[in-house]
Symmetry: none
């Protein structure tokens, strides 16, 4: 379910962070649902607990999850639209970079059609 890529140049903790957001946007993780514990997830992904903890702390700081002391971490009151907006703002940065490099909006939109996941 978490699919971490150790080879990627994107830090692992950031991959975990984004994965949680993705699962919420897709409705796989829902409000107040408990996330896997730091220890369990780190075992499952075969990474260090600290790395998972860092991702969770970042998520909590951004009010995407909350933790109850001694009980675990849970999905916060999720505002999916707000979360989409969050992702789209990151996408904006890419758009601007491409436009600044001299490409046109038409070229970018056409490119999107061609992308396969």
């Amino acid at each position: 379910m978490f699919n971490i890529n150790l080879q990627s140049r994107m830090p692992i903790y950031e991959q975990v962070y984004k994965k949680v957001i993705e699962l919420i946007i897709k409705g796989i993780l829902v409000e107040n649902e408990q996330l896997p514990s730091v220890r369990n997830l780190s075992k499952e992904l075969n990474i260090n607990p600290n790395t998972v903890a860092k991702a969770y702390q970042e998520l909590e700081r951004n009010k995407i999850i909350y933790s109850l002391s001694g009980r675990g971490s849970f999905v916060a009151k999720t505002n999916r639209n707000q979360m989409k907006e969050h992702i789209l703002e990151e996408f904006d940065v890419c758009i601007k970079e491409a436009l600044q490099s001299g490409l046109t909006k038409e070229e970018l939109k056409n490119r999107i059609d061609g992308v396969k996941l």
Copy 2:
């Protein structure tokens, strides 16, 4: 003309690298035109000469510029389409990230329309 942001999370050498490509795509730098020397550019931007050198090396490795020993660096036979393709491939990464986060192609295309530089 070069507009470097020292506080950006993007490495400085990468900013220089992209800036040169941008100037070529926009036709500001043209085939066989001489680039500023490493020394001059580093002074102008107030950054380490090694940083400029690294950007130039990367550009040369990708056949975007060529250097004549003792004379300087010059814009290579520019294939603008190839360069656009290069930018678009970077953009692909952003598209994929956004799609993987659960957004749709429609949402991304609409977003592009709204962006102002």
Copy 3:
């Protein structure tokens, strides 16, 4: 009446502890009055009985309540002034932190006037 916040960074047992003191200072709980049983209070607040027990133990240790084995916990001979002193000593810690951060006593006193509960 007890108003516990599970998401607060303040430990739950400490919240219970403080709440009892507050109720005594306000005269809502009076000398020799029986406190809710550990079991009942934990059910009402939906928290672990051990957590309530810990708060009660701490209160007993500080002579704020006393317990009769098999009968329950009761408000001790209350010395309101002593209790106020207790709260004020906690407040001292905050004052010192603020002063150490470079603020002046005047600034702190003015701030108190502005606070609304």
Copy 4:
């Protein structure tokens, strides 16, 4: 200059965090001044570099310092008033707790006069 208390229940990284703010409020660290490097400060305080790094990252996240990659950490455009406000907001929490415990504003203000650092 940094005066860390290893016995305190306040986490070390938080003490470092607050110390930097204090030094800025007091004008000892000024805009664009370079902070001691993570390594140097950790040696001086005899604590782990990661602990200092955590404090610096938190400071950077809150725009109190900024880092130039490969060069070091520097005091950001400091708005002292904004920083005071930051401290005062923390103080508000203490005031509210004390008021909720049944004390009066007068009692709190008198207490401030009596505090010695």
